[in-house]
Symmetry: C2
Subunit: 265 residues, 2 copies
């Protein structure tokens, strides 16, 4: 089995969800045929929402919200899965979420559980484990941006069978792109980090996002990478089943060799 | 508080423990004053012991064994802690262990819990969690070589308060030195990987060890690194207390931000 997967790195306009969805539609249309295309975190709204009221006002419900609906329609039309970050409204609060929309019209949701910096003022943290969804493009696990920092996240996804970790991001710290090598190798999974670019001057500070979106294979090889400061969409064709082989050599299997009774994590 | 810590990368002679201890004594003597010096895994015996009988025959007890005694004497004499890998004999089997010897004459032991490749034929796996020991050079956590592959190991050490992870190694795969960046950053700890060099032609195959010993700080900076194929001892002065600060910014603390109830690890 092979799957054509990729990231779409771009600069969302601040607080202009409709315009950003149009931009993402154009990116998807010009990308070529894909089985999975990952857009950045909060790709519909931009990152530094003014305050919690702004976050709740700009947030949309899962499923019947405009970004969810847009992703579902695009997945059906393009016959490829879409992952996109958005501000989700539910229970009177906002979540930093992403949807995975499938060509069959199904949509899945994940609410970021490790909020970064000022996000804690804007969003409620997710309270459900990160999901792994079987799709025609392989088993896809979802985590968002700062979730990468916690090795337990990618581990949880891999142990649940994720072959590909889709990782919408708005990265500002210098660590992630270099460290994702370890996430891929230690779990023998594909990782797709879709980061944004550009600088936002909201909330009294300038935040520059670091681009450098990338796709790594289970052996840590870089299959694709983007520049730090220019839009870039890249597709690569992979065999997701490679991520089911957790053997390192004839003696070692990274799943079976774990010693959970000796860990204190 | 500051501590002068380092690695001693060299090529042990195969199955010549006395000669290797002499070599290590010379290395320690010429290294200058240290608070912690880490030697490679199985530094006393060499790596590819012929078979399980050879491993049990060449193995020595913890404490009263020659390598344990040597490390204790060296730590006392040099007024610096010593970590060294050795084949340990206990309960009629051999373990791939390391000792931490302190200037006050105390010795601590760790038995590798993730055995790599053919080690599974030679050694019994350790059945105790990895230890963290408070020393004048900071809180030192111990793991051996392939243990690095399992993020739960460094995590367990860091959550137990390790400021410095001492990591005696005989690395042959290409991943570790690059991936340790992530281990340092995700746990905000110092890591000292002391790897060996050279090629062994035992057990019907040639194994080349990859050198490139390194010391990383909690921010992932490389404080020292060695070449791939030459002996090298390097000391750096660090403040181990820096590893007690798990804050990433005013909102995020990597220990407090963990969500164990949502992990399945």
């Amino acid at each position: 089995m092979s799957a054509t997967v990729g990231f779409a790195q771009f600069e969302p306009l601040y607080a202009e969800p409709a315009a950003n969805r149009d931009t993402m539609s154009e990116i998807a249309e010009s990308a070529g045929q894909f089985d999975l295309l990952v857009f950045p975190e909060l790709a519909a709204t931009g990152y530094e929402l003014r305050d919690v009221v702004h976050a709740r006002n700009i947030a949309e419900p899962f499923q019947e919200g405009a970004t969810s609906e847009w992703a579902r329609a695009l997945a059906v039309e393009s016959r490829g899965a879409i992952v996109v970050g958005y501000a989700e409204k539910a229970d009177g609060v906002a979540y930093n979420s992403c949807v995975l929309a499938l060509p069959n019209g199904a949509v899945h949701n994940y609410r970021k559980i490790h909020l970064f910096s000022r996000e804690k003022e804007l969003f409620a943290p997710g309270d459900a484990p990160p999901p792994v969804i079987d799709t025609p493009a392989g088993s896809i696990g979802l985590m968002i941006c700062f979730d990468w920092f916690f090795p337990e996240m990618a581990r949880t996804l891999a142990l649940q069978g994720a072959q590909i970790i889709a990782h919408p991001s708005n990265l500002v710290l210098p660590y992630c792109q270099r460290a994702m090598y370890c996430r891929s190798v230690e779990n023998r999974v594909f990782t797709i980090t879709a980061n944004r670019i550009g600088t936002e001057n909201q909330a009294g500070r300038a935040l520059t996002f670091t681009g450098q979106s990338q796709i790594l294979d289970p052996d840590g090889n870089t299959l694709a990478s983007a520049p730090a400061d220019a839009p870039r969409s890249t597709l690569v064709t992979i065999d997701p089943e490679l991520a089911h082989n957790k053997s390192i050599n004839e003696y070692n299997n990274l799943t079976n060799d774990r010693r959970p009774s000796l860990y204190d994590v």
